[in-house]
């Protein structure tokens, strides 16, 4: 049973002469070409095509409104309703980060601060977006729900330094996030 003998299909005269297949092929390719030019390619609607084939033409057209819920874009830091920065600089994300893109310098919260009992906040929080691989492990590991992957995907810069997101930039992109677990809230 090791050898299976395959019967090659017997070609009739028309198939052997090959021209029929050629003509069929021309018709097929030309149908595609015409459909492309008319913007009627298969899948053009679902893929929100630019009217030429199925392609979306990037700078003018964006995929943004089609991004799925689970899209993993740039990692960012968030604040909550009370305006408290949620990160407590436990550095778990720094340790779990596979490409070592995150760098945190922890600092203490002074005792006269209303959030003194949180004790720690990051002094510096940098994510090197050249290193980041958008794996989302930082979000997964964070015990404070402080770091989230947002839907931003256009991270560009003219030099390496531009590509390092510092704390200010991270909070700017992240913004406020409501409805999170309020571990440190007085009301609890």
């Amino acid at each position: 049973m090791a050898v299976v003998k395959l019967q090659r299909p017997k070609l009739n005269f028309g198939e052997k002469i090959y021209f029929g297949a050629l003509i069929k092929g021309f018709i097929l390719t030309m149908t595609h070409a015409v459909k492309t030019l008319r913007g009627k390619s298969v899948g053009a609607d679902e893929l929100a095509s630019s009217g030429l084939g199925v392609t979306m033409q990037f700078p003018e057209q964006r995929w943004d409104s089609h991004l799925p819920e689970y899209y993993r874009g740039a990692p960012t830091l968030v604040t909550d309703e009370q305006g408290r920065e949620r990160c407590v600089s436990c550095q778990l994300c720094e340790f779990v980060c596979p490409p070592k893109a995150i760098k945190i310098v922890p600092s203490e919260i002074p005792s006269d601060d209303p959030w003194a009992k949180v004790e720690k906040r990051p002094l510096e929080f940098e994510i090197d977006m050249i290193r980041c691989i958008y794996c989302g492990m930082c979000e997964e590991v964070c015990p404070e729900q402080a770091i989230y992957l947002r839907k931003d995907y256009l991270i560009t810069g003219l030099k390496r330094a531009d590509m390092v997101h510092d704390k200010k930039k991270l909070y700017e992109i992240g913004g406020t996030r409501v409805g999170l677990v309020n571990k440190w809230n007085e009301l609890k």
């Binding site: 050629l22 092929g25 390719t29 070409a33 492309t36 030019l37 630019s50 084939g53 392609t55 033409q57």
Partner: protein, 416 residues
């Protein structure tokens, strides 16, 4: 030959070669990329235009990406021209030139338009009005195989070498069919001068579209009868040109999927670009030859050519330029056909290609020569001789088909 004539020839060389044919190379590259993109439901290069924003304007001028080939060329210019240490230097450097030059030399016998007349001085729109046009093209164009073979050999590595050898074998098996297939055409016109052939087509109908210009010597019936050998010749010739220019169904010498890049694997920068240019220039010349022989060359057709030739402003008969435009339009149309074939037909296997060349096209072209001879000579022959000829032709054809069929049968395997 006085100075004026030399000046005219130089002007013709510069204008027709470097301002008409050479620009067609980037244009066909552009069409290749856009057309293939459209076939595959994509967009293709549509951005590179005139970068007005660099000069301080608000918007760039896209021009449908027509400037893309210039950007590509610039890229190739600026790339490092790397010569590997293991190559045979002299041949390695010579090979790219050997592929481009033959393709450009063959331009000289292609008639681009009807004669232009100024101040009573008539000038043909062809660089060298040779009386052996097609033969000259065949002899020079087949030199380009030396470039490919030398490139493959001098690269001193395995894949390019296989590519070079394949190219030689392919050239030998298709050159015969290529030469034989146009013999019916040459018999019909009784002339090897391409200008004369096109002029006859303009007067009496294209070879594949003989619908006008009937007279006693060129009756509609005789032209219609000759249409069949002409169509067979056209088919064989076109397919052989595909093989000759190493275009897609027969691009075994460079065959990316098997041989990396074939003969130009070891080449980079402008040396690679020369091969690229040579391939496209050969394609342009091949299309030009097919158009000239079968589709009326510069002729507009439908009996309009005589009228166009008479157009003039004072002493300046400018009809030739209209014919030149018509020729270029046909040329681009045929190049588009080349591209359509490339993106439709999958590559042949090597043994299939050899079989197609030796077993099918060679015999078909040979039989076609006899068929055409019979049709051309029929008016002068007696009925019985025509009958005998036809019967002989049928017998020979049947014999050839039978031999081809028998040779296809595989020998019985003795041990299962």
């Amino acid at each position: 030959m006085d100075l004026l004539q030399i000046a005219i020839i130089i002007v013709k060389i510069v204008v027709l070669t470097f301002m008409v044919v050479l620009p067609l190379v980037p244009v066909s590259v552009y069409f290749e990329r856009r057309f293939s993109a459209v076939i595959q439901d994509r967009v293709g290069p549509n951005r590179v235009g005139i970068p007005l924003t660099l000069l301080g304007f608000k918007k760039d001028f896209h021009l449908f990406g027509l400037v893309q080939p210039i950007a590509d060329g610039l890229k190739l210019f600026l790339k490092e021209d790397f010569t590997p240490a293991h190559v045979r230097k002299a041949f390695y450097w010579m090979a790219p030139a050997l592929t481009v030059v033959p393709a450009l030399i063959t331009v000289c016998v292609v008639p681009f338009g009807s004669p232009i007349s100024i101040f009573g001085h008539t000038e043909k729109l062809v660089i060298a009005d040779l009386d052996i046009g097609p033969l000259f093209i065949f002899s020079v164009a087949s030199l380009s195989v030396y470039g490919i073979t030398l490139a493959g050999w001098s690269s001193n590595s395995k894949f390019p070498f296989i590519g070079g050898v394949r190219s030689t074998a392919q050239m030998i098996s298709y050159e015969i069919a290529l030469g034989l297939s146009i013999i019916p055409v040459l018999m019909y016109y009784g002339d090897l001068n391409l200008s004369t052939i096109v002029q006859q087509q303009a007067d009496h109908g294209w070879l594949l579209l003989p619908l006008w210009g009937h007279d006693a010597d060129h009756t509609f019936i005789s032209k219609l009868l000759f249409w069949f050998p002409a169509a067979i010749a056209f088919l064989i010739f076109t397919i052989s040109i595909f093989a000759e220019t190493n275009r897609m169904p027969f691009d075994l010498p460079e065959c990316e999927t098997e041989l990396v890049g074939g003969y130009h694997t070891e080449y980079s920068s402008m040396k690679f670009a020369m091969f690229f240019m040579g391939e496209y220039a050969a394609m342009v010349i091949g299309s030009a030859l097919i158009i000239t022989l079968f589709l009326g060359g510069w002729s507009i057709g439908f009996g309009l050519d005589a009228m166009v030739a008479k157009l003039h402003i004072g002493d300046f008969y400018y009809g030739g330029f209209i014919h030149l435009g018509c020729f270029l339009a046909k040329l681009i149309g045929f190049i588009l056909f080349f591209i359509l074939v490339r993106w439709t037909v999958p590559r042949f296997r090597y043994d299939q290609l050899m079989k197609l060349g030796w077993v099918v096209f060679f015999e078909a072209a040979l039989i076609n020569v006899f068929l055409a001879a019979l049709i051309v000579a029929a008016p002068q022959l007696e009925k019985t001789i025509i009958g005998v000829g036809a019967v002989l032709l049928v017998i020979v054809t049947a014999a050839v088909i039978w031999v081809a069929k028998v040779s296809e049968e595989h020998p019985k395997v003795l041990r299962a």
